[in-house]
Symmetry: C2
Subunit: 252 residues, 2 copies
DNA sequence: TGACGTTGTCCATTATAACAGACATTATGT
DNA sequence: ACATAATGTCTGTTATAATGGACAACGTCA
């Protein structure tokens, strides 16, 4: 009587895309199924469907990867996802003004993903690109991005390893929640040396008219700058966020 | 006894994404279902699944559009879709050398879509961006992109209206096929004044080691240039395609 | 006010798709 | 060569998902 449970086809399809996106390389279908822990026959079948629709593309050696159609979809998103378009000039401006890297982040799949980034003057510093993502517990932005979710939801969805850096626990859910409340009270969030040693960030949320956190803007800089620059950064960040928010609400 | 036929969930999902991509704006779910000619209950259910997974995003007024996750996927494609990455410098170089617009095109969904484009010196001229697509029968590149498909398949899949420009038939399948054979024999394809008056293009295919046409590189220019520049364009295009092909096979 | 179109939810039905598992074929290693 | 793993295809079974259709809540236009 073991109640056998079946995954939904659409979920399998998205899981396939997630898996490929995670591995960031073409994979053999068999390997893909193994990596997902999914039935081989299902993945072979689903893969064929997605290949037919150019959602996946074939590569040599029977490998598959995210397809041309996803490229086209991806190109169309920012046109309408106006937050990216609207924020861009302000983020560029802020990065230019401060000489530090500035990012637009949002919550995707229980990770913090980079929607847009402008590099600062420290060219040797911090090279992640749009599309990459951070573990939530280790960033200042996620203090705001998890707003509205209860503890149980967060426990279920944030992978345990996201609290670790190089095998060492650097954060707990409890602490994360406390930080989050504190950040909300202050209106900004500061995190140092979590994601990496000597790396700090300051973030503020972009909140829509119904109070939902849409995304965050964050500044990343060496922790050594903190004492000298924190006040200046917070002030400049606040101005930028206000400008973005105003522009966004105007655009409706 | 009417054999009722059901669409597959995955296909419905992709249809939704296609429809949104096609309309290029957020749509109300109901409107979406109508535009697709699909059952409302199905589309309501499927959009919810896709929203939960950030494949779609919500907009004000119950509207939905291509979501953040698609943006992330789209950003990851070119990293591995090495043809785009590899071609880019060569296409830039060619556009610079000739002063004309050069595109990397491929077949997606029975349209010719732009994977990458470098603008020429005619800044007033021809402003389509990557992600956009052309009707197959009206371009020089598609003479190569349809290689390997039989007449019946093409008849079924290429929409009738793609043979028309502003209500006037400017191409037939029969002519299209003849052009295609001829192009294959010559190794390049020239089309004038089909997509638009006074607009011409010359294309050559990028063919992998098994003889499959992966994509094409095309030059777009005013028809008036044809007489003076055709030979030069063909020669330069040939060199570029050879370089891309060689680089691509090396990367294999 | 009433008639009508639009938008969204919910349920029962049944065609079908996800799955398990057998089989075939091709690497890989010893 | 032999054993073993990796890869791909096929089929039957049954849980379930796509669908039709009823219902409700709006808005709007006359």
């Amino acid at each position: 009587m073991a109640k056998v449970t079946r995954e939904r086809g659409i979920d399998r399809a998205i899981d396939i895309l997630d898996c490929l996106h995670h591995h960031r390389r073409p994979m053999v279908v068999n390997e893909l199924a193994a990596a997902m822990g999914a039935p081989r026959s299902t993945i072979y079948q689903t893969t064929k469907l997605l290949l037919n629709r150019s959602v996946l593309d074939s590569y040599s050696g029977g490998r598959v990867f995210l397809g041309r159609k996803l490229f086209l979809y991806g190109s169309a998103v920012p046109e309408q996802y106006s937050l990216i378009e609207l924020s861009r000039p302000f983020i560029d401006e802020l990065a230019e003004e401060l000489g530090e890297r500035v990012e637009l982040n949002s919550l995707v799949d229980w990770k913090q993903s980079i929607l847009y980034a402008a590099d600062g003057k420290r060219s040797y510093f911090f090279p992640l690109n749009p599309g990459a993502s951070y573990p939530l517990p280790l960033t200042s932005s996620s203090r705001f991005l998890i707003d509205g979710f209860d503890e149980e939801t967060l426990r279920r969805n944030i992978p345990e390893e996201d609290y670790f850096r190089q095998g060492e626990r650097v954060m707990t859910l409890d602490r994360f929640l406390k930080d989050s409340q504190e950040a909300k009270a202050h209106g900004y969030s500061v995190v140092s040396d979590l994601l990496d040693n000597h790396l700090s960030s300051i973030s503020m949320p972009i909140i829509d008219k119904s109070g939902v956190v849409l995304s965050t803007i964050g500044i990343a800089f060496p922790t050594g700058e903190m004492e000298a620059s924190k006040d200046r950064f917070v002030e400049a960040l606040k101005e930028t966020v206000d400008k973005v928010r105003e522009t966004f609400l105007m655009a409706g």
